[in-house]
Point group: C2
Chain length 435, copies 2
């Protein structure tokens, strides 16, 4: 094979030059020698597309590399690899599709776009014989999608449980360790820059839902979009829920859940209790982690920084090296086509467990009608505990695994029962039963 | 590109058919369709070399695939990929070298062999333009070496801290959670099959040292052999050490440590206290995990089953798919050559922190000479605490980071001091200071 020094450079176009983009640009320049050794050819920046050339950190305003015409840059004949770091659906989508149709290899960290329809993007990549890589889109620098695509080849993934949003994990962690309530923890996260001024995308689970769609698609080789993902955020989680979790030896996390089940897959985002001995329980602060259960490999977990310029840039460069190597070899990366056409089941069909706290009066005979309500919906009770006495009694119930629709129907019936003053809190419980 | 169905099969030779080998054979046969889709060509078993053809789980004794002549099978012209799962240095080493010289791609899980001299093996692979993959050699199914080789391309690894031996982690975990002493926990591990009848390779750190050499080589692109790795096992860890760790908010783990330091690298295996909030502290039972700190990617952790037929077979098959794809494309995997010729520093140059418990009499003036001994060796004290009173007093000291040789000299001096009745225990402390 020809030596690295003999190879013509691969030309890289960078679309977007914000926090991550400028870090990628810096590393492409400063670590050029190392990247050349690993990619097998020099990587040369062909151009950087920005909206406002006057405001570029790390790049001289007058640099000949700068352009505002992203479409021309993305499809220029001398460009081999297009890195998209603009975010958002448009113009990113049109630019990437045009780049792939022009035969460019594509690297992106755009979770919103991939969550919307990664299957369609993959189809275009396949039709035009090019690569579409996006390690940076989920869980920052954690090498996670590559193992799902490659290392677990020949294995069957059963379940993915992820903490994929650092903001919500920081907030829940503060609620757990400081006893803070949601509003205070959110305020602190905003003050520290972990949460946006408008925190909706994070706290209502939109960000996690897009990542769940991407993970489910890769794990089960099937088409899953953000719209298919059942989504609940953490704004309704109360300090009392966290305290209840603690009493049960659990911690509350916002989980991205992808499960293979009878007749299809379940893809959902919601807060859930997990046992403190579960590896995900130890994921603190704004860190991310993804827990995978596969047939042969067993239980795996990938942990790391979920966001930030450095970590995401590291993931992007890893992808750039991979697509560069594929390009030199004249191949595409492993095919992640949607060859399994599994349906995404409605939330009512998901199998889960419930923690239910009921505000009841401490009277003989209150348990019997409650237990009957569970039995009527075929929900088996795992543990019951009464907390407090007299008029302030609480009945705490943890169920065995049951269908979400049956659990929800049980809770609705409990809420209407005269013996129950109020349904205090309802949280799903995840992590293997018995842990 | 030709469709998968059009490609000639790649022929796979399996050397060794024990627990892992028979599982790999089973998966190659049962998941043939899936593996073909992922590899890009059918994978066909060309032969299985065993010592005793009469004793093969899962393979009919009379199967035409069986042979006792491993060398002929490993170099047969119709074989493309050689999987070595015999273990031990010889004949594995000769077989793999001969296979690579004959142009075969090689997959192995042989940590002993790679620890002995992976740099030499890589050199032969490079000279003959072929692949040498060994994901299964460290931390079972955890996709770990691939990220070190590929995803962290363009990043600089600063430190690797690993729990890479499940037996010792199980024993230390039992000591921590059950208050068991070493002998009882070892006995239980043996009864459960987690430890061998002769547990030396595990409890004295030999197994972990080989894996440390492999990890250090990949992390720092330099030549590290098992003999270069400073090694201490866990047989001297006492229940009292675990209790002391607990009192300090720490847990004791056997750590594989690879660090980039001034003038070279440190590669060592020893028990150490780590803070309970460190992600590695949550690794329970026989699980493995490897914690990586890199310049851009930040802190990463990879967690999973460290051993067992299923997990290791899964790692082996992931490698087989990767080398098959490379072979079809006519390329080799990313070069992990030893381009950085960094020296492995002697243990005395390692930077670490010490926990020291001294058996002293509770007399005024005992602290001053102790503090002077630390100061004389330029070791800064982070915290001192006296436990107990009167004749049974203990002085517990935790230092700041210092050179191992200075710490060791301090402890030697303390042992000779009249004010100190005995040096009760000495444990290194790892994990970032201040955590």
């Amino acid at each position: 094979m020809p030596r690295t020094d003999d190879r013509a450079p691969l030309r890289v176009a960078l679309l977007g030059c914000g926090v991550v983009g400028s870090e990628v640009f810096r590393l492409l320049v400063e670590q050029a020698a190392d990247l050349r050794a690993r990619a097998g050819a020099p990587l040369e920046v062909a151009g950087v597309a920005v909206r406002d050339p006057a405001r570029r950190p790390g790049l001289a305003a007058g640099s000949a590399l700068l352009t505002t015409d992203a479409m021309t840059l993305a499809t220029r004949p001398d460009v081999d690899i297009v890195i998209e770091l603009m975010g958002g659906i448009e113009p990113a989508r049109s630019l990437l599709l045009a780049a792939m149709r022009a035969g460019k290899s594509v690297v992106t960290a755009n979770k919103e776009l991939l969550g919307q329809d990664s299957a369609a993007m993959h189809r275009v990549a396949r039709e035009h014989g090019t690569d579409l890589y996006y390690e940076g889109a989920v869980a920052g620098a954690i090498p996670l999608l590559r193992p799902l695509r490659e290392s677990l080849a020949g294995d069957a993934v059963r379940r993915v449980l992820g903490i994929v949003n650092g903001t919500t994990n920081y907030i829940l962690d503060q609620m757990d360790t400081q006893g803070a309530d949601f509003a205070d923890a959110l305020g602190e996260a905003q003050a520290l820059g972990y949460a946006e001024a408008d925190p909706t995308a994070d706290v209502e689970g939109f960000d996690a839902a897009a990542k769940t769609a991407i993970l489910a698609g890769l794990a089960f080789h099937t088409r899953v979009t953000t719209a298919d993902v059942h989504r609940e955020g953490i704004s309704a989680v109360r300090a009392a829920d966290i305290a209840s979790a603690r009493a049960l030896g659990c911690v509350v996390k916002l989980l991205a859940i992808c499960e293979r089940c009878d007749g299809g897959i379940s893809a959902r985002v919601h807060p859930a209790m997990i046992p403190r001995v579960h590896p995900l329980a130890a994921v603190r602060g704004a860190y991310n982690a993804v827990f995978v259960e596969a047939e042969s490999a067993g239980r795996l977990m990938f942990y790391g920084a979920g966001a930030g310029g450095g970590p995401t840039a590291s993931a992007v460069l890893g992808d750039v090296v991979a697509v560069a190597r594929n390009r030199i070899a004249g191949i595409r990366g492993p095919d992640t086509s949607t060859y399994a056409e599994l349906p995404v089941l409605p939330m009512g069909d998901a199998l889960t467990r419930y923690y239910v706290a009921l505000d009841v009066a401490d009277r003989p005979g209150v348990l019997a009608p409650v237990a009957e309500a569970f039995a009527r919906h075929n929900v088996s009770i795992r543990a019951v505990r009464q907390e407090g006495r007299g008029e302030d009694a609480n009945l705490v119930i943890v169920t065995h695994t049951a269908r979400e629709s049956q659990l929800a129907a049980t809770v609705a019936e409990l809420g209407a029962m005269p013996a129950v003053r109020a349904v205090g809190s309802v949280l799903r419980v995840e992590g293997e039963e018995g842990e």
